[in-house]
């Protein structure tokens, strides 16, 4: 099956979630990776190292409307039957728009693709991750899908694929939403997806001071701080740390949930963790149903002791 993979780039580096799609695309048949912009040279080289042919569409103005127009042309040029993107904010904006232009539908947040005879079955979560749906495109329709990060393994380096650079003119009237300003409010780099240890806090922390203990424990274990939505709404930490349906999907070796009750929207983002420790004062908290170790107790009492104990073991 001819498959097109859209590789998002930033600061001339390909986005990791997009690189994860390359192996799957080549597995399904003829894959092509497409990069769009005026500064993709290094990214194109990096992508080609995974053995996939790379198409660079060189265009001056880069915004979502122009990228969309370029993707329509790339899909036609490569006669692709399947177009894959990473389920980033950009991917989730572009995929349904591209699907509409190709007169087809779209599947969001795919976590698995399998062959069923001639056709493909796409698995995706719904209802906050409580249910998995097996979806199929109607016969004769092109397939457009966004894939959730971490669903596929990154390809191994192989003999470099060919790089074709094509410059395209996008008509000025393609740009309907004019970007006038961007504001960067979150400057910290929070690598939750790549973390081996995550210590996360929720509403049950009670105050910023106790959330500070979550941060201290994370630091002590060489891990990253996570949070559920209430902790972000309380202002204890920025939304770059959010884990769950509307945040990041993570799968660390160790996940320590502090004062997190375990709403489905949060659990669906961390259920892939290897080992889960949960601290909650409510002995019936749903988070305990998924935890390897459940500690019934208050975060402000348990966390200082835990920090002390781990520090003593390290010494």
């Amino acid at each position: 099956m001819k498959t097109l993979v859209y590789i998002e780039t930033k600061n001339n580096k390909p986005f990791n979630g997009c690189l994860e799609l390359i192996h799957e695309a080549m597995d399904l048949g003829e894959g092509t990776a497409v990069l769009i912009g005026n500064d993709c040279e290094d990214s194109a080289k990096e992508v080609s190292r995974y053995g996939i042919p790379v198409l660079v569409l060189d265009t001056e103005a880069v915004c979502q409307d122009t990228v969309l127009a370029a993707l329509v042309s790339a899909a036609a040029d490569t006669q692709s039957e399947l177009i894959l993107m990473s389920a980033t904010q950009t991917g989730k904006d572009l995929a349904p728009r591209l699907a509409a232009r190709l007169d087809t539908g779209c599947i969001t947040d795919v976590v698995g693709i399998r062959k069923d005879g001639e056709s493909l079955i796409f698995t995706r979560p719904a209802y906050g991750g409580a249910v998995l749906e097996d979806m199929q495109f109607a016969e004769g329709k092109k397939a457009v899908a966004t894939v959730r990060g971490g669903s596929f393994t990154k390809a191994e380096a192989a003999q470099a694929g060919d790089i074709t650079v094509k410059s395209i003119e996008i008509p000025a009237d393609a740009v309907k939403a004019k970007l006038i300003d961007t504001a960067v409010e979150i400057t910290e780099l929070v690598n939750l997806e790549g973390a081996e240890v995550i210590v996360a806090g929720g509403r049950g922390c009670g105050d910023a001071q106790t959330f500070g203990l979550v941060e201290e424990l994370a630091k002590l274990l060489g891990g990253v701080v996570g949070a559920s939505r209430p902790a972000i709404e309380e202002g204890w930490v920025s939304r770059a740390h959010q884990i769950g349906q509307s945040g990041k999907i993570v799968s660390p070796k160790l996940y320590i949930a502090c004062g997190i009750s375990g709403a489905m929207q949060h659990v669906s983002g961390m259920i892939g963790s290897d080992y889960i420790v949960a601290i909650n004062k409510d002995e019936d908290a749903p988070i305990f149903d998924t935890a390897d170790i459940s500690i019934v107790g208050r975060c402000e009492e348990i966390l200082p002791l835990m920090i002390e104990e781990i520090r003593a073991r390290k010494a």
């Binding site: 509409a100 409580a130 104990e309």
Partner: protein, 258 residues
Amino acid sequence: MNILVCVKQVPDDFAKVHLGENGKPALEGIDKVVNAFDTYAVEMAVRLCENHGGRVVVATIGAEEEVRPSMVQMIAVGANQAYIFAPNTADGDESSVAAGLAELVKKTEETIGESFDLIMCGKESTDEISSQVGAMLAEKLNLSFVSSVIDVKPAEAGLCVKQETEEGSASYEVSCPAVVTVAKPEYDPRYPNLKSKMAARKAVIPYLSDALTPVQPAVRCMNYQEPAKREAGVKIQEKNAVDAVARAIALMADDKVL
């Protein structure tokens, strides 16, 4: 300014959904609510009209008696008029819903005799969480599109909209009409008061039973599964926090996770 907000009724997302005996999500016992992101869109639209004049129309696709309470609720929190359209397909995917909404926009404009300056949807619905319909609707109407909007202001050439991004925010200028999807703004949606509730209950909400052309979905759900469950492990419930922590750490050390 004429604003249309497209609203979807969903099962309350506080309830955990399980599969029923027929292998499909068992939604019967779960309360029906207006999709949270749609309530943010209605609040944003009502505020915009309170500050700059205009009218907010809400519309939904569904069975009349099933969705009417949600429409009444939206009128109680500030929408001026509501319409209910009968579904254009029994087994709709996002592309067929978007096609239905595109038609709904035209039919509603004909009914009220004016065109919309802004069409709003929630950025995603809390049941299917696919964040496709608003984007597809913009394409089907050939209008400009911005997702995850947290603020809208009138601007010289149309509207200035602020989008929430992974790093912060981005501001766009769009000409009217435009389609935007709405994320959670800084404020919460208002609650209805007794007077607005009483008035809304009497509202005439037209039901258009055959206004939408039947369509075939492009995507179908073939099968549902529940994800593999995790086994709950050891529960530590000690009177003394020191003992609880000592036991937990010993177990973690045995399992070599520290």
